[in-house]
Structures are given as C-alpha cells and as structure tokens.
Symmetry: D2
Subunit: 467 residues, 4 copies
C-alpha cells in the first residue's frame, strides 16, 4: 500500500483506552516511514471523559513530535470511518466493570475467571463479537479497503469471527505475548543485542501457542531457552502470576510455552493463587482498574506530552507498539516477521485451513502470510484441536445467543471445572452482563424468572449500579 | 471362517478371571451355531489358584451343557496357542492389587484414579500394553491366522497398540458399555421387545463415545431417549456412581453420552463422590475385590455348574457375552452390527484413518468394518481429538518407557488436575507398580533415590507386600 | 418407514422411459413385502406418446399381477408429487437426440464423447442438474418427506448436486454397473449359487470405482477374480466395447475395476473403436435409439403384459431392479448391502466428508450408510481425487453457466484431449444444446455471433430440426 | 550457518556438466558475502574428459576473479565429501544418450517423451533416485551436517525421495522455471526495474506450479500478467515449444501457469509439434546434445575465463545461479524468498504435510520454510493430487524395481496415452536403460526373453553401442 502521498488515515475504536498513548508513541516513532495524516479516536458515551483526556494527551504528544498529524476525537464511529486506511480496535464492552464481573463470579464458585481464556474470556467474547460485527458492517460501507487491526481480547476469537463469520478478510489480530518473549528471551540466553541474533517461530492459538528459537547458524536453541524459562525477567506478562513452569513437562514438550500455558499446565497452583487473591478481596481486574485510574490521573496533566513509564507496568505493554509495527509493515509492504492471528491456510496442518491461528507470519501489503509449520506432536495437537473446538463453540454462541452452545463451550474449556457449579457460573454471568448480551435476552429473562441471582456481592453491586 | 468341520479352538489369556463363567455360558449358548472343540484357559503363576477354581467350574458348565467341548487350563501360554482360531484376552497385570493402587494413589492427592480413563487407566495401559506385545509375538509364531478379541481394559488403547504398534490387524476390542445401552434404552422409551425395534449408531473412543437411536421408520428418536437418560435402569454400568447427567448440556449435544462421560461432564461431583468413598476407607477397587472374593467362594462349590446371578452385579456384565457374539459373528460371517474398537478407516472423519475408534461396525469373517459416521459437531470433535492425542501419548510412553511422554499424557488427561500434585501422582504410581513396569526401570530407580515414596498407606502396604 | 398400512406412493419422473417395464416388474416382484398403492409416471410434452405407450403397458403388467396398484400418467409433475413416498428419476433432457449430439460432436473432433464420463457426460450433467434442482424445489413443497432415488446419468454428479447444492439429503443415486458385477463374478470364479457365497466391497465414484471380493471365510479372492476378468460373460455392460483389460496393470492395482475403467486404462483402444464405429456412420447413441424404437414397437402390443426379453439387451439392465430393491430396503428398514452414490462421511478417507461417492452401503429407513473403506493406494487416490475435482467443476458450471468453469472441467477430464480441439468441442456442444442450457445463454449467443457452428452433419441436422 | 571464518566447502556431483561455469560465476559473484574455500567437482569415469575440460575452465574463472578459492576435480566421490558444507547435484545418469532414448522411444509410439514430466521423466527418476540414495549414504557418513542442494531433474521427485525415502531432511530442490518467470514477468507488465517492484507467490509441484503476482500496494495483478502471457520474451524456457497458452482457460484458472503446463493444457499441439520434430529426425535431446558439444568446444579454449553467452541458450539458464543464491541464503541466514522443492508442512493444504512441493519459501540457515498458501480451487487441486500420486508411484517403483508400480505410474501420467502402446513404451524403455536400472533387472531379463526390442533405430543403436 506504500507510495501514497496523501498520508495514512487511522481510526481507533476504543480510542479512550489507557493504551492510546503507547499507540501514539508508536506512530510518532515511525512517522518518517509512514506519514500519518489523521488519527480518529472513537469511543462511546460512557467513555466520553476518558476519551477527552486521552485525546488531549494524544494531541500534546503529536505537537511535541513536530509532525503535522491531526488527532480527532468523536463518539460517532460512522463519522470517523470514511476512507480510513486502518481501523484499530482496542475497546472493552462494559469497561473494566465487566472484567471485574468476569473474574469474580467464577472465583466465587471456586473457578478461575481468566479474562481471556477462562469463563471470563468466554464472556468477553460474547460481549465483543457482536460489536465487531457491527463495526465491520460500517467498514463495508464506509472504508471497504481498510485493514482491521484488532487488539481487543480475546484476540484470536474476535479475529476468527471477523474473518470467518463476518467475512472481513483484511483483519489481523495482535497480541503482545509473543513480542515480549522475543524481547526477553535473547537476553536470558546471552544475546544482549536482542532478537536480531535469533529467529523465532511461533505456532498455536492466541494465548495458547508454543515457539522454537534458532540461532543464526540454524541451530535449534529451544532447549537452552527452556532451561532458563523460570529465570526472572523472562518476558512473561506482568498480569500472570509468576509460578515456575514445570520443567520436566516443558522439556518433554520441547517447545517454549506461552505465559498463559501456566493456567493449563499449573492449573491447581494458578487457581489456588487466584482464590487467595480473591479471598484477600481483590481480583486482577480490580488491580488493573486501580492502575488505570492512576494512569488517567497522569494523562490529565497538561504538561505531559510523552508516554509515561507507568503504562509499561500494565499487562499490555508492547501491545500498541505491535499494532503500529503491523500497520507499518502493511503500509510499506515490508514482508516482516510478526506473530499474529490470521487465517491458517494450512500452516498448522492439524487445524482446518480456514481456522484463525496465531503463528509466525510475514506482514506485507497483502496482509499476513503464515509461515508453514506442519504437524504438531500428539500432545500439542490434542490441546490445539480441543481449544479450537472450544473457540468455535464460543463464537457460535456469541453470534446465535444459543445457551446450549454456551454450555458446550464451558464444558470444553479446561479452566472451568465441569459440574453443576459450572452451569451456575454460566447463568450468573449471563445475568450479570445482561446489558451487553442482547442475543441471549430470552434466556436471561428465563433465568431471572427462575430466580437465578449473582452470588458475589461486589459483582452483584456493579450490576445493581447499572454496569 | 465358517464351514469348518474341525470345530473352533479358543484360547483365553487371563482364564482365571471371575468373568470366565460368563464366557463359558456365552459359548455354550451359541454351540449349535459355532461348535467349539477346545478352550484353553491360560493364566500366570500368581493366578494359579483362581485358574484352577474357574477351570473346574468351566468344566462343570460344559458337562452340564452336554456338548463335547474340552476345557484345558495351563500356566504356559505357548502350550495353549498353537493353531488357535481365537485368542481372547481378559487379564489384569498385577491383579486387583494393582487397581487398588491405581485408584488410591490419585485419590490420596485429591484426584480421580479411574481405572480406565484417569491416572489409573494410564497405568493400566502402561502395565498391559507390553504384555499384549508379547502375546502377539507368540501368536505370530504359533497361530498366525488367529483373531485377537481383546476385552482387557483400557480396551481402546490396548487395541490401538495391538493393531498400530504391534501390527496385529486381526484384533477387535470389546466393551460392555454399548451393549448395556442397547439393552436398556429400548425399555426406557417403551420398546419392551428391546433392541430389535431400534437401530443404534455409536461413534467415539472406548469409554468415550456417543450414540444416536432410530426407530424402524428411520426417525431419529435420540432426543426422546435423552429425556429419559436419568431414569433408573437406564443401562448405566453399576460401577459408575449414578449421578444424574446435566440434561441441558446433553440436549445441546443432541447425542447420548456413555456412562463414562459422567467423569468429564460432572467432574466436580464425581470427584467429590470418589473422595467421599475414599475418606470412608474404600476405593471402588476394594469393593470389586470383595465382590470377586465372594464370586470365587461360589465358584468353589462343586455343585455349581452355571453362571451365578451375582456375577451380573460386577461392572463388567455382558462383556464376555459380547466377546462370544463377536467370535460367532466372525466365525459365521454374520455381518452383524456390534460396537467395537477397530481401525477407523475414515468412519470418524475427524480422526486419523489408522486410529482405533469405538464405533458401530459390521462383524464378519473379514473382521470389523466400521459404518461411516462422518464429522462430529465442534464440541465432540474437540473432545475426541484431545482424547485420542492423550491415548497416543499413553501408548507411546507404555512402549518406550519415556517419562516425558508419560507426563504429557497426564497433562492432557482431563481427569487429572495439572500442577505439582499431578507429577507426584505419576511418580508414586511408577514406584508403586515398579514390578510391572520394566520399561520405566531407569526412571523408577532415579525417583526412588530422590526419595519419592508412596504416601497412601494402603497402597504403600501393598507395595511392601510385593504386589 | 415400514409398518404403514396406507401403502406406498411412487412417482417416476421420466416415466415414459423404455426402462419403465423393468421398474414395474421389480415392484410387482416385491409387492408382498412392499405394497404399492399408486405409481405416477410423469413425463414432458415431447414424451407424451411414449408415456402413453409405456403407461398402458405398465397397467397391463399390474393387471396381470393381480395386485391392486394404480398407475397414473401425467405431464404435470406437480400433480403427481403430493405426498409421494419415493420419487424416482430416469429422465433424459433432450431425449436420445441429445445423446447423439453428445457423442457425435466429440467424435467429429477425434475424441470420445462417452455419454457419462466424457464430454458427452459433462453435457448431460449440464442439461440435467438444473432440472433436478427444479424437481427438488417442487418436492420441498409437495412431498417434503420423500426419498429421491436417482438413476438419471451421470448418476454420481446428479446425486452430488441434489445433496450438496440443492440440499436434498434424502437422495440416493443408483447404477447397474455394480449389480452386474455382483451377479456375474461369482459365476466366473465358480460360485454358481451367486452372490450369496461372496461378499463385495466397492469404493470410488459412479462409473469409476473398484471392488474387492471375499469368500465366506473372509479370504480376499480378488486376485482370483482378476485372472478371470476378461472371460466372456463377466458382467460388463453391453454398451461398452469389450476390449480386454490390461491384466498386468489390474494385477498391480489389486482391485477389480469397473467396466468404465476401460475408457481410462485403454484410452487409445476405446477411442480407436469409437472412431471406427463413427466412421461407419453410427455412434452408440444411434444404436441405442434403434433398440429403443424396437422396444416401443413391442410395448405397443396390447397383448404384452410382462417385461420383454429384449429390454435386457440395452445397457441399463438391472438398473430399475436396483431402484426397486433400494426403495424396498428403505421402506422395510432392511440394512441391506447395496452399492450406491451417497454422502461419503469419511468412508473414502481420501475424499472430502461431504463429497458424494459410490460405495458399499447399508440401505435402511435412515437411507444409505456407507461402510468405511479407508485410504486408497496412491494410484487410485490420485485418480479419484482428480475425478472428484472434475465433477465439482462440472456441477459448478452446470449451476452457474460459467464458461470458464466448463473449460476447466474439460481440461481435467481424462477422456478429452487438451488443446484447441477441446475448446471447439465445448463450443459446438454449447450451441448444439442451446435449447437445454438456459444458464449458458449469454455465452452461447456470443459463440454464435462469433460464427461457431456444429461441424458434424448429423448433429447439425438434429439442431436444425429443433432437437 | 554464517559467522564461520574457515570458509565454505562445496562439492558438486556431476561437476563435469556444461552448467558448471554458470555455477562458478554465481559463486564468484557472491564471494564477498560467502567466501568459498574449496570446490570439489566430482564426476564418473564416463565423464572424465568433460570433467577435465570444465575443471580447467572453472580454475581459470576463479583465477580471473582474484579470489583464493581452490577447485578440485575427482572421480572419487568419497574423497570429495568429507566435511562438505554443501553438496550440489547436477548429474545425469546415462548422459545425454539416456535422454535421447527417453524421448525417442515414446515418440516412436506416438507419445511425448518429455524428459521431466512424461515417460522420459519417469525413467530419469528411475535412473537417478537410487544414485541419490547412494550419495546420501555417503553424506551420512562423511558430511552429516551438509545441505544437499539438488538440481538434478526430475527435481521434485528426486527431492521427495531424498527427504522422505532416504531421510535427508537437509535437502532443497531447485528449478530455474520460477526464476525465469520472476525475471521476465515484471518487464512484460511494465516494471522495468524487475522483480523488486512485485511480489510473487508460487505453489504446486516441480514443473507443475501456478503463481500469483502482487504489486507493492498488495494489489493482485495476476490478471494483468495473464493477458500478456503469450507475449514474446515472457520468460518461458527455450526448451519448450512456444505454443500460445489458451487464454480462456488461464483466465478461468486465474493464476499463472508454468511453462510445462503447456504439455497438459495443450497436449494435442505439443504432441503434434514433438512428433513433427521427431519426423524431421531430431528429438529435443539431440538438439541439446549438439548445443552441449559446442559449449565444450568453447570451454576447451584456454583463453576463456568467464561464462560464455551461449550457455544461456540452453534450457537451464539461471538454474545454477538459483543454486548459488540458495547456498548463500542458507549460509548467511537470509530468510530470502525463493521458489524451491521442500517439505510441504501444510503450505498446500490439499497435499499431505510430508509431501515435497514446489512453493514460495523463505531460505535461511534453517533451510526452506514454505509460506502457507492454503487450499487450491477444485481444478488445480485435482491436478495436483493426481500428479503427486503419480510421483509417489514413480518413486516407489524407482526404489523397489516393481514393474506393477511402474505401470501404475505410466497409467496416471497424463502425458502418456493409456493402452497397449503405453506398456510397449514402458517395456522398451526398461530394456533400453538396462545398464542403469539394476533394481528392475529381473523384469528386464523377462522382457528380453519374451522378445521385447527397442523399435526406434536411433535408440536401438545407442543401446547396441553400450549407452
């Protein structure tokens, strides 16, 4: 898409996010390569205040940069979209309140909520996927050539829905987990220069992938990295409890897990840790909410015109930078290696060709082209096929509002313990998120008249407050 | 294989089993169709006493029948095998003592042992598969035309090893779970005549399959049967705690689960129930041991010449009868519908063509020909692919003695909670079964010198006693 | 579907066919098992005279049988369909005139026409598939529970279109080729009693399948039958030139080919033979037309009340009998082995699960359930995958009228020699069949204005006569 | 593999080839990036004279370059191999005499010989594959870390045998056909700068692939290139008759064919052209032989120290340069896009994951990593699956010497017309190449005693002369 002289137009849905300053920094850093004409930050009425704060902050950052890029803020998505080149999505339906409910309700029944892979992640998908469908409807009309760069979680399922269900093939899903691994792992095995000295190959699903590492001579040094996997500063996201990986298992696997594999390989310990935090009165969501409020406090400062240090401490560090680099690689046809969620096309031959996978890919003006990986060993094949099936049930339920399909998704999800409690969790989450789940409306009415209530007090209070 | 006039020769490995009288009854019942010349009951030194009791009982049964079939008992497998037409396997390496350890050790760490699908089942596979390999080595030499009819659990994995790893394609794996369902379900939906009025189609893996039911007009009446699934007398094996299935989930699935699905769909409740029994001082294995002792008490009675009622109360009712019918269908080329473990050949198109699956098949002199089923819906596809991958890890570990592969099998198994405790369970089971796991010898030595010990007192005592 | 007391209603589209007496004979023969209440013979205006002759003949046959079945004839399909239990299709769009063009035009360019597998067969599909779509539209409205038993050629492609494209899953495609093989092969290897002594397993596509033969002891006797493959009276259809199969090749394949494989394995000889016939002034279609006229001469005889001997001499002997047996097996839930075109469901694991294949299947009130076959050896896999791809191009072109897709179908078809002449054949056939190819209308206009003309005089004359 | 200071060691099997000067030129051109320490040119006794001429020429070229690289010539492969970094293969078993027989014998029966895809190509595979197996045996012992860069035809089948059958995963197969397309196509659509402005993506099999072309903005400009496909200077190899592609078909396909597709899409015309040349007394092989003799005349000139212009006129231009670039990309871990034969790994999801395919790949120190392509449309899928099956039959026959498998390969090959003549061609070729086909020895003896003789006089004379 390069060689344009009119400059790039970016629209960011969920523009009032606390991540926006990182996004601005990323675009400023790349301006010489990719001159951005205008950026539209879009948000909804509930996010108006945050949007204004972040919008002002973004304008200060661009002014400080000296580049002529214009920053617009709006609550009207359709006003922003016309002729956009890239639409990035980083919104959170129901704000952090929703995440609090996603996490607390399962925990109140003794299960991990886990906002991307567990019951919480399933509900985040339920709330988000229909909205992505609406955004794509608008894009089809207003900017039919635009790329959708999604970094709304659960990124893999949202991307699968965008491409397979809503038919927007120009979608790429992003995640910062691989970025962090590629930044940190070279250091822990003694390549201080960083990723330039090593080649990484990732394959799997979003928040559920493995990777191998090679040196410049082609030698597979994965085993060496595995031995240092539990070192401090190993690139694991700050939002995941730092319980050491079981090395005997990882050695048997022979590939590097992603941080989220802890939830699966160490389910007992991760659950115990989450329940302990919960007992202390705080879910992860509530910690994040506090951090976010501090960030907005900073952003209000009219003297602040660069990304503050504190932002890096949130779980999503490098997320926005990955998005900027992805936009850049498309715009400038860079054929650059990135790890993204995109159509499989056979790259992982154990999954269907039209499934969305998270793999090493070349990013260019043609979008993402996965590098073929081939077959997985039996164990990883089994995990992946089950997780993909679970994702399919989630997406189907999100679109149809089918309660039975939702139950099936819960049943397959390895972070949810099957039994009567699982169904209670499902039912309470449906009620708790009623406002954001119009497709499940009939079932929710039925559950409510059957007397289902949210048991966790904090969550129940949020619902009562209209969140 | 019909039209022979010399009569059939059957060899039963594990002939001292308490199931043998049912097997004898089954063969007697079918003698006019399939005249058996001789039956060899084979066992090992540890089973000598039981073999003698059961052998005498078997001879009395045949005498009472008036048929001229000869029953031989021997501790020398190679003396029994020459020119056998059928070899049936129903042995238990390590006797019921092994099952006690299989169940108690996981329970002592708060997990289901489950002797066919859980950690216990994995270890049963570890002990059994190498022995099946040795039996096949003997068969290759002594009765190269014989069929191996396996009903040693875990029947699916043992059959897969026999066919794929040891190359004995004339193997069929049996299980009584489908038999029971086909016997009882017609009754609960009002077809008192039984299975003749209905057609059943099963697909899945051993102890992990679903089925559909059709009436003679081709109408799918599965939904009707689902509604009665939790009725009393529904054909569920007596060895599985009778906790009601979650009907909302089963309706969403739209197929009938097998009894063992309770462990997966109701994991929390089944675990709680098992832990309760364990707290009361008794695992399922110990109950079975008691039942078995009572049975042998009966078998000792020189007046008893028919299968006693009490045998039906064990979990395995109809197991042996299924084996007799399978032998009959092969011998008489009956092209009869049975549900067996056999090579997939595409019947379940979500699994590899050479995987062993448990499906509706035609049994004839050519062996088992599965009836094509096609693709599964997403949820069942995910479960099946994961379970098959788990089985592959188990079989591989059983044959190679690879500890890492065993860890992977544990990690994939949904009845084992991942984390440090899972590895403790693995390590203790290895030590507890040292005598029957020569392929893991090196690792066991290592674990012992690292101080690993069996924590459960009953299990530890059995080990100390040389079991 | 059994246990009805109202009797069966059959509708036969193309009821004026010369095969109808065989169909009547088949139903009469099975009346005690399957009491037919009424038979509707449906045809179109052009076939009115033949319909009347055959209808009268059919009535005489039923009268002679003594059964109370009523035979109706009509030119109004929608009057016939309401509440039908079975709709059988045996029509020929464009009558035998169309077949003459299908065969002569390719031959005039030095290629095999071959009315089912070659260029002729492609055009038969182009003419037939849209009509099948219209019939199904009517069935959906008027007899939504009816089974469609198709024996209109090319039977495999028509069945695939009916099931995959038009969504009528209650469709079964029939062919007499397997029936003939199963009738004759037992005799040529010395089982005079016939098929009862042997078991047959077929797999492949319509007019492109292989089979294996087993005796009652399960021994594979295929190699023995291969050695007698070129014996006289080997069950090969009379409409295929009887050139001996190349035994070295068939031995290497290790399976029995179908008669139509001659066109592929002996392309040079079959082409030479057809060109010779063509040079003598007669295509196969013209011979058939003569036979058919003779048959109708017989049918006119008001004294004739049974199927005349001469009908057997047409290529399609046993076609209609197979249809009757299929109807019977569905009605009476017989679970009978037949070789039919039906959904693959993984039975041939080298082809997609939703492809239509021609395989050994069990026919019951649930329809056709294929017996799983598994993987083919490399050679047959290659042939099958190519032929299925060709069929997909044909069906797609038939439905869309896409000229490029038609070219692709021609390009893949192994009986058409690629090059400029192939495109001439395509273009001339389009023009010659203009009347029956409304979906290709725009392209045909274009070809005509570009001056394309039918070169073969006989074919051109038929077109000029309005055929 | 970079960062070595000892320099690279190259061994070239078939070093006496007329292509060697191009190879030398390619290495000289890249010396600064990839310093080569020593090059070993290996040949066999029959090629001694050519080896000496070419070896001397190579030494003059390196001297003229000023680089210190040493050139060795030897007839002892095992003396050359120790510690090689790269082994390149460009040999021709039986020299050009073999190609003459490969082409003339089929033509004498009215069929294309076609030295890579037709009957000739099958026999080239039969002669070459066992020798590749021997080379790999030596490499396993003497240079276990070396890469095998094969450009011996049929390159795809030789590569598949090397990787799948002989287990040498460090093999990459090369071909100049994609190189030529990428060089010429930018010019014909107006990108004079060449390939830098465009991105190419290839997928298929060696000499049987398609490609798409994209501009730097990501737009697919394939359709534009298709319209210019028959322009002069379109990059088609000089060794293929320049008959215009059928544009209607190519437009329907929507991808660019490779030059060899002419043999399939224009079979009639290509055959007619070859038969015409043959009638004029000359096969393509004989023309090449003349060109080669002229080249060696030039190489003898002690003043010549650079690649002569005339070499480019052979069919294989750019072949050796591609090999040099491949070696360079591995050595310097370049992750460079090249089109090579390598393991599929799912890249073409219609073929098995372990099949060898010719696709766009990244070449680095890890070898070739294919870029995932996904599924092919029906037509190309059908062709590819058939061609791959044919290749598998060829490779199997080459290794086992199984005559039936060879017949099956002939039967599937679309350039061979099936029938009695095809078997005659097979039989004559077996006899004609007796010396180079030890694995078929028994069958050849049988054919000879049955009186089979080579009918073509020129070919018969070569056999009589001991070629």
């Amino acid at each position: 898409m390069a060689q344009e002289n009119r400059g790039v137009k970016i629209v960011t849905i969920g523009g009032g996010s606390s991540y926006t300053p990182e996004l601005m920094e990323g675009f400023i850093k790349r301006f010489e390569e990719m001159p951005i004409r205008e950026i539209w930050l879009v948000d909804i009425e509930e996010g108006r205040e945050k949007l204004e704060i972040v919008g002002a902050m973004a304008r200060r950052m661009w002014e400080a940069s000296g580049y002529p890029t214009q920053v617009h803020t709006t609550l009207d998505r359709r006003a922003a979209l016309p002729d956009a080149d890239f639409v990035t999505t980083q919104f959170r339906v129901g704000l952090l309140y929703a995440r609090i409910k996603d996490e607390r309700i399962p925990l109140s029944w003794g299960m991990l909520g886990q906002e991307t892979n567990g019951a919480g992640g399933i509900f985040k998908a339920f709330r988000t996927i229909p909205v992505i469908g609406e955004i794509i409807d608008d894009m089809r009309e207003l900017c039919p050539e635009a790329w959708l760069v999604n970094f709304t979680n659960p990124s893999g399922m949202v991307t699968e829905a965008a491409i397979k269900q809503f038919g927007w093939r120009r979608t790429i899903g992003l995640c910062n987990v691989p970025v962090n691994a590629m930044l940190m792992e070279p250091k822990i095995v003694g390549y201080p220069e960083g990723a330039e000295d090593l080649t990484f190959r990732f394959a799997g699903l979003n928040h559920f992938h493995w990777h191998r590492v090679f040196d410049r001579r082609g030698a597979d040094i994965t085993a060496r990295v595995i031995e240092r996997l539990n070192d401090p500063d190993n690139g694991m996201p700050v939002n995941i409890a730092d319980i050491p990986f079981p090395l005997d298992l990882i050695r048997a696997i022979g590939m590097l897990p992603c941080a989220y594999h802890r939830y699966y390989y160490l389910h007992a310990e991760m659950l115990a840790h989450a329940l302990e935090e919960f007992a202390r009165g705080e879910s992860r969501a509530e910690q994040v909410k506090k951090t976010e409020e501090e960030l907005f406090e900073l952003y209000r400062d009219p003297a602040l015109d660069h990304k503050p240090e504190q932002l890096a401490r949130r779980g999503g560090a490098h997320y926005s930078d990955a998005a900027c680099e992805c936009v850049n690689a498309i715009w400038n046809d860079k054929h650059e290696h990135m790890v993204v969620s995109c159509e499989n096309r056979g790259a992982l031959s154990d999954l269907a060709s039209d499934s969305i996978v998270e793999v090493s890919a070349l990013i260019s003006s043609k979008g993402a082209e996965p590098i073929a990986w081939g077959e997985m060993p039996a164990q990883e094949r089994g995990w992946l096929q089950m997780m993909k099936a679970m994702e399919e049930c989630v997406i189907d339920a999100a679109i149809t509002g089918d309660y039975g399909r939702a139950l099936e998704a819960f049943c397959l999800n390895p972070l949810i313990e099957n039994g009567a409690a699982a169904q209670h969790v499902l039912d309470e989450l449906l009620i708790a998120h009623e406002r954001y789940l119009p497709r499940f409306a009939a079932k929710i009415v039925e559950l409510k008249s059957a007397g289902v209530q949210v048991r966790d007090e904090t969550a129940a209070r949020l619902v009562a407050q209209g969140h």
